[in-house]
Amino acid sequence: MKKIIVSFLITASLFQFSCVTSWQPVVTYNTAIPDNRLIGTWNSEGQDYIVERVFESAVYKKQKNEPITPLIKKGIKDSILYSKSYIMRYTKDKIEYHFFCSMIKINNEVFMNMIVADITSINNGGDISELHLSQNWLDRLHTYTIARVQFTNTNIIKLDFIDGSFIYDKIKNGRMKLKHESDDLYDTFVITASPNELQQFIQKYGNDDRFFDKENSVTLIRKS
């Protein structure tokens, strides 16, 4: 249960709203698609977001010799984690968040799953111990957030996050059959369905606007 709460809080901190958290990725090795239009510096409501290739990212360079999460593994260069994925980083309250992003195309729409790759404090030269984070703690962040990605043009990207509260409401009311674990005490949940099931769900309901938190859609505008 502690895993669910921690994962939920960290993931939600990304854009400050209720997004869905999944224990499994929707993007798998065979289905991952790269899209370099994502690379660059983006801004949304005054907040900057930097997207770069995994190989070029600070988190990769840092963790190359010192892997701290199972997401980045030494010697596995031909995995989606390296060649077909991106790192999105942003700073908030003097803490730098690194998200690992992979994309998939379903029904001619692009979907992205994001997972916390690293969290560092910029005050202490990236020393994560200052945040009282341990390897064990980071392992608990191993949950994915899923969003629909719409490239309006090369300079504008719209992210529609899957609405966690809608999904949870449907699950709680016995209207949605999706494997999950819930924490009744904190009223949170995490989806535990397999990547294949997640893909099928998106394939079937990817065009259903009820699934997306339209009010909290994020529009990223390219800065550079």
Partner: protein, 348 residues
């Protein structure tokens, strides 16, 4: 005929059986398909919908395809139809959950949690299970019917046996009374003794032969009495040779079986007018086997003509043997110009 509730094919029991099967199947599926630690409302809905696609598949197979095509001549056509049926409903199942359910139940969200191939496999296994259940039920029904048929055949045989006995006894007495009648005409002095022995035999026939089987020992005593009775009325010209071998203990035999053959021998041989008539009787008893041979020479019959009833005793005893010793007896009747031989081998 009104069927009883506990009979396998009674409509009410049949409905209960089918309901029981589907309820059991429902709960097995429910626990198989549940998404959380315990089944939730959506799992119930999903399981019901999943079963709804299985129902027609199962019933089309067991109520239509199997009875109409499930024989050797049409087996290939049956298998082909079964494959089409499975693929069709697996396709319906897959597409219903994968696509159509969003339109039919817009407020319920589920997908096909199995690939099409898995659904086909699932349906195939389910069809096999229900077919095996159907076949095993049919097997039970066949055994039940066989048992009922055997019971009815047994009852029929018993009725027939009673009728045969009812024919044998008067037949025997009719012949003996004819003999006594002849003795009375001859003013034979042995007549009173003969009547007395006949009285003893009647007691046995009337009271002792009600069961299907009596002890062999008793039957042989009656055989002896019967021979004695016939010897009295036949006089000195009849030679009766009796050879007995073996030990009689607990063996059982159908009553009056041997007497009927003896009666026949006396009727056709001993009472003939020719001289030096003989009857040879060989009785060999083994542990569970009886060899009985009676042989007589033929005389000129001077009995009262009994017309159409002549030979009725032998025919009756043959039928009795068929009913009481099916596959356990060997009867050989040899009718030669000068003699008549009956050889009977019985497994006791």
């Amino acid at each position: 005929m009104k069927r009883k509730y506990w009979e396998l094919n009674h409509p009410i029991l049949r409905i209960i059986q089918h309901l029981g099967f589907w309820v059991l199947s429902f709960f097995v599926f429910l626990y198989l398909f549940k998404t959380g630690a315990k089944p939730e409302k959506i799992d119930y809905v999903y399981t019901i919908l999943f079963q709804l696609t299985l129902l027609p598949t199962v019933y089309i197979n067991i109520e239509l395809l199997l009875p109409k095509l499930g024989n050797r001549k049409r087996i290939l056509f049956y298998l082909l139809s079964l494959i089409v049926l499975i693929i069709l409903f697996a396709w319906i199942n897959y597409n219903f959950f994968d696509k159509w359910s969003a339109k039919v139940f817009p407020d319920y969200f589920f997908i096909s949690y199995f690939t099409f191939r898995e659904v086909v496999l699932f349906f195939t296994v389910y069809i096999i299970i229900t077919m095996l259940l159907k076949l095993s039920k049919s097997w039970f029904q066949v055994s039940w019917l066989q048992k009922e048929l055997l019971e009815k055949e047994k009852q029929k045989a018993e009725v027939e046996l009673k009728a045969l006995k009812a024919q044998i006894n008067p037949h025997f007495f009719f012949n003996t009374l004819n003999s006594i009648y002849s003795m009375a005409l001859d003013k034979d002095a042995r007549l009173p003794g003969t009547v007395l022995q006949l009285s003893e035999l009647m007691r046995y026939f009337i009271y002792g032969s009600k069961d299907n089987f009596i002890s062999l020992e008793k039957e042989l005593i009656v055989v002896n009495d019967y021979i004695a009775l016939q010897k009295i009325r036949s006089g000195e010209q009849l030679s009766v040779q009796i050879n007995k071998d073996g030990e009689v203990s607990e063996q059982k035999i159908a009553p009056l079986l041997l007497i009927t053959f003896l009666e026949n021998a006396f009727k056709h041989g001993a009472k003939g007018s020719s001289e030096n008539t003989f009857i040879r009787l060989d009785i060999k008893v083994e542990r569970d086997k009886l060899n009985f041979v009676v042989e007589n020479n033929k005389g000129i019959i001077d009995e009262v003509n009994i017309g159409e009833y002549n030979g009725l005793g032998l025919e009756n005893v043959k039928r009795q043997l068929e009913l009481l010793y099916p596959g356990k007896h060997l009867l050989n009747i040899k009718d030669q110009p000068d003699r008549f031989t009956v050889a009977l081998q019985l497994s006791l």
